[in-house]
Amino acid sequence: MYFRGALVLSLMLVAPVFAMAQDMSVSGVLIDGQGWQLISEGYKFTEGPAADADGQVYFTDIPNNRIHKIGLDDKVTVFAEATANTNGLMFGPDGLLYGCRNGDKRIVAYDKDAKMQTIAEDLASNDLVVAGDGGIYVSDPPGGKVWYINSKREKRVVAEGLRPNGVILWPDQGTLVVTDGAEPVLWTFRVERDGSLTDKDRYYGPLQLPPGGGAPGSDGMKVDSIGRLYVTTRVGLQMFDPTGRLGGTILKPQPGSLSNVCFGGKNLDTLYVTAGDKVFKRRVQATGVRYAKPK
């Protein structure tokens, strides 16, 4: 008995580092019997899922120029219209909903009443991530750039020479991850104190590719509270552990596009995905991250 107790104790002592080392399978994320549930359909192309402080999820229907809101009761309402092809969305620590308003080359933010303000102008954008200090990273696929907009709303290019699509920060905001849908890897950068990006490498990979050939089509991403990363791809929602190793692929809810993902719901323990004409959710054994803590 003593022998057994000592082993359990030793495991408890090393548990935080041990969790980094053991394999992390999607079976540790999924819940038996909890598959994808359809929330709503009839859209042209859904994108940009983002959870507010209550866990309600907002998403865009890009060609229809609308932002929708999913209530905690799963009822979907229109939040904003005439959104000029707004794509990626995320809530900032100030409670504003930031958006990539690519139709008129602006980054904008909405308050609770859907009143819009301009944050930055003259930049193409696809996706964004808002850090805990209010700094924003924006992907600019046509320009092959990642922009940084600081809390004073000054913008500058912090990475070039890649075809960025999705962008996300680690839970501690010390590393930025960038997708490039044509590459079998995800790029990582060290985040400097002033928002600059350094030490670019192919840390996550290889991604699972469609059998028979083709690019991964990696797009939107999120991380969970223990640092697992979820990226939407052509073959499904791929999950990577914090050391950059693929832990497995969660099946898509339907054939076709899987553009983006977020954690939502009251306890932030439900995955929401935008998939072509529909939006789905699925409860999991993982919890999302809010970057509200100051850096």
């Binding site: 057994r4 082993l7 359990v8 030793s10 495991l11 090393v14 580092v17 041990f18 980094m20 080392a21 053991q22 394999d23 992390m24 399978s25 079976s27 680690w170 501690d172 905001q173 010390g174 590393t175 990582t188 060290r190 985040v191 400097e192 104190r193 350094t198 030490d199 670019k200 490498d201 192919r202 840390y203 990979g205 290889p206 640092g227 914090p242 050391t243 950059g244 190793r245 693929l246 832990g247 497995g248 850096k295």
Partner: protein, 313 residues
Amino acid sequence: MMPTRRFRYKVLPLAFYHHATTGLFLVLLAAGSPGEVSAADDYQLGPDSKVQEGVPQGAVTKRSWKSEKIYPGTERDFWIYVPKQYDGAQPANVMVFQDGGGYVNPEGQFRTTIAFDNLIHKKEIPVTIGIFINPGVIPAAGADQKPRQNRSFEYDSLGDQYARFLLEEILPEVGKEYKLTNEASGRAICGISSGGICAWTVAWERPDAFSKVLSHVGSFTNIRGGHVYPALIRKTERKPIRVFLQDGSADLDNVHGSWPLANQEMAASLKFAKYDYRFEYGDGGHNGKQGGAILPDSLRWLWRTEGAAATQK
């Protein structure tokens, strides 16, 4: 029923953990976990792994390295072992170790420098400088942030990046102080777990630079695509690589693959393609016990100069 002398352990999915920054090896065995196996895994170190009176002892010095080119931003420690018999007159052979902090530890599972002392003294291996390198870490910008651990990226990735790191950064740096051979026949590389597949990857990519591989419980599984090697070995013209593989029947079976099956498949492909290989398959788990116990024999076999014949015990 009376208890038997042989314990039944339940081994965790990953029973071996290497701490990337300190090189500390931990072996974790726990009751009540999935994957029950029965294994003795009671390998013991022999006299060649113990300090022997009258045998000259080499010197070990610790260095640190910040990569700016191949793994930008990474920092790491490494150790250089120089045998007493090295006099700088002739270029010394070189053996590189991944997870260097573990292999260089004189009280660890491998005690490599002690084995080197003994075998070099008996002239059973050539005068060889050991370079024991830890995996890289990218420190975070802030104290409240986590460093990025680069071990899996450096060791599990296929391709020539780690080989270039050795050839363009570490070997030239050590070469400033010590005369090292440039011949592939005088260069070996060794590692455990992901460090084991890394050793194979370095030689596979650059057989012109490294000709000898020693793998302990090597991760020839799908961590980052390394499960393709058995297929590649069969369908690629044989490369001039001598390779010693060690694994155990109680090794890992997890989401990345089955280590025992992967190592058996490597051995079968090496046999098929007529490589100069040796496969030691024991009953241990994901640790360095068997690899450490047979390290002196492995080194003798790897560095031997007589004719090469594929053998499998």
